[in-house]
């Protein structure tokens, strides 16, 4: 199972990070980012399979694929924002991390507007 590889890699990397962080903090930040990416690529295939399953489920349930696409976009944006914010926090730049998260939230809000409009129209139609 991949979980053993992931945990093994994480433990080894954390030890190496401890060694590197004392002398070269900037290298440690980059190494931490690379470890995160490698772990993501390890589980990427499983994530793809889950997404395909979600799409089939939505198609079978008759949910309009537009909404599912918007939800997937929001999840993607949230994930990338999280990666960026964590890298900034790793480098003790919490203010930059806060700005990245602000941008991520705004972009998600912009994406969510059509769904909110659809809900409001549906409610008005009912009343």
């Amino acid at each position: 199972m991949e979980i053993f590889q992931v945990v093994g890699l994480a433990v080894v990397s954390v030890v190496v990070l401890l060694v590197i962080r004392r002398h070269r903090p900037e290298m440690a930040v980059l190494l931490a980012l690379v470890v995160g990416l490698v772990i993501f690529f390890m589980v990427a295939q499983r994530l793809l399979a889950v997404l395909e399953f979600l799409r089939d489920l939505a198609a079978r349930a008759g949910v309009d694929s537009l909404y599912l696409n918007i939800i997937l976009k929001i999840v993607g944006i949230a994930y990338i924002t999280e990666i960026g914010a964590q890298v900034c926090r790793d480098a003790q730049e919490t203010s930059v991390a806060a700005k990245v998260e602000l941008a991520g939230k705004l972009l998600i809000l912009v994406l969510a507007v059509p769904i909110v409009m659809a809900i409001v129209e549906a409610v008005l139609r009912v009343l």
Binding site: Q5, L9, S13, V16, V19, I20, H23, R24, E26, M27, A28, L30, L31, L33, V34, V35, L37, V38, F40, F41, M42, A44, L47, L48, L51, N69, L72, K73, V75, G76, I77, Y79, I80, I83
Partner: protein, 65 residues
């Protein structure tokens, strides 16, 4: 995938930090700085490539065009 990258970067980091300490002992402060810069640039090249790969993967996965 890419697990060797982690060890390559760890190797570069350790070598650069050790060499810079040695250079500092030999009163070659400016060489140590340049070596550190070279190390960071090398690691940045690798990281930039991986981040691009990440963005491509996420873009195709979540249709974030």
């Amino acid at each position: 995938m890419g697990m060797d990258l982690v060890f390559k970067i760890a190797f570069i980091g350790i070598v650069v930090s050790i060499l810079s300490i040695v250079l500092k002992q030999a009163e070659r402060e400016e060489w140590a700085q340049m070596l550190t810069l070279a190390g960071v640039v090398a690691v940045l090249m690798i990281v930039a490539e991986m981040v691009l790969e990440l963005f491509q993967a996420v873009r195709t996965m979540f249709q974030l065009y």
